[in-house]
Point group: C2
Chain length 306, copies 2
Amino acid sequence: MKVLVIGTGAVGSFYGSLLARQGVEVSVAARSDYDHVKVHGIDVASDTKLGNYHFRPHAVVRHAAELAEKPDYVLLCIKVVEHADRVGLLKDAVGPDTSIVLVSNGIDIEDEIARAFPNNELISGLAFICVTRTAPGKIWHQAYGRLALGSYPQGLSEKARILCDAFQPSGIACVASEDIVAARWQKCVWNAPFNPLSVLSGGLSTNDILSTQEPFVRAIMEEICLVAEASGHPLPADTVDKNIESTYKMPPYKTSMLLDFEAGRPMETEAILGNAVRAGRRVGVSIPHLESIYALMKLRDSTTTG
Amino acid sequence: MKVLVIGTGAVGSFYGSLLARQGVEVSVAARSDYDHVKVHGIDVASDTKLGNYHFRPHAVVRHAAELAEKPDYVLLCIKVVEHADRVGLLKDAVGPDTSIVLVSNGIDIEDEIARAFPNNELISGLAFICVTRTAPGKIWHQAYGRLALGSYPQGLSEKARILCDAFQPSGIACVASEDIVAARWQKCVWNAPFNPLSVLSGGLSTNDILSTQEPFVRAIMEEICLVAEASGHPLPADTVDKNIESTYKMPPYKTSMLLDFEAGRPMETEAILGNAVRAGRRVGVSIPHLESIYALMKLRDSTTTG
């Protein structure tokens, strides 16, 4: 199995390294970290039982076009933010038999890729993980790691199952999902409140947000459940309660959006929140709390970038 | 007519100076600015036809108890924020015949004072003004200035009318209002969106907020109108349209809450927003946009002060 990982950020480096440790031939396409990764490879420091280990990619390239062969899978592991040219990055990576695997946060992030590559299999993936790139080629895996993969828009192809199985011996679970879009909505229940609120509050942790404004967090989560249901992906009735409960049990956590905001990087506002709002408008569900935090994030974005 | 102004901030200094210029005996109770005002009085620099002038108070005291006589009117001109001990400030200022005049932003700010001084006449006032204290005893009057006064909870007493009349020759209009609580709701239509959004957006002017998120601003304004109506103070049907229109015509404006936030001073979150939200809950009106920005302001407050 030949895999190309596009993006040597935290997520791409981590999941690429897991496959490489199982003997998969994993190459990486790096951008800003190319010089370091080309020479030194990638070091993963994990606080879990994985421990610390080195990941030496099969090939390190700047552009996918430099690879001798097209891969069986290309894992696109970049944030879905403005100016991220996902189609451009994939174009030279994809042969007729290449499966495209998207590992990104958000809602409705697949359609653009499905339309650009109508003849390639599309696998959609979600990472449940705390992992950070601390320096070029340096990855700090703090906790969790479960991956969910499924064919887009639904079902589970043979190749999706093979990829999922390839992760299993790594010690990090990969869950094969017959309805990956529902899984995206499920994850959005958590992301939609905590990511924006961590930024809009001026930097609060998940725990601080929840312990002072639980009803507000619940109201946002409930709107996501309504939109998911009206979009054909009903979530279990206890979804909100379970998310609240598990967040109380987590250590206080800085969201990825807050980390991006503090570092002056683009935020996944559209992928996580904007697309959920647009879905809500499309299906005609009342989502005033989502509309409010979305409007505020757009105002926030304009002071950050304007 | 003897008047005591409590608070030598921008609002108290300005309206006190207007009365003094009409021959009213105006004393002031100053706190942090006492030393300067005692020696130098107050300088008002107005960008309007008022021009620049000096205001020498009849007496400058630290505490109202130092005054030889109880005033006919005490104007309490301080922001209604946490730890502002309004009752304590008024206690030594008030004789049996003293009318208490509150000149402050917000909703439902009178009740605490009415309960603490049940035998004193209570006049409620609103200032529509851009005015800033630039240094101790230095007041910069940028624009506007209209004052609205009325008896609380409604009507217009003889003394309220007399005070109103005393302002008229100053060149700054004072409007006598038979329903000052409705006037508070009217002002809240503008304050409730623009004050919090200027802070939550990270510092946008009224114009930047409105030009990018007008539907959101309208949604907040409409909720205030619904709460006002359900509270017995219906506002004219074109209230929201008129507020939007006039804001587009204003120069880009930094709200008072944003100025407070940037200066690290307490914000009028409860007086302007929290009390409106509580009124909405009390009358059972759906106010999800107000609830959202209130929850976010509370989260914001906790990062500022916590």
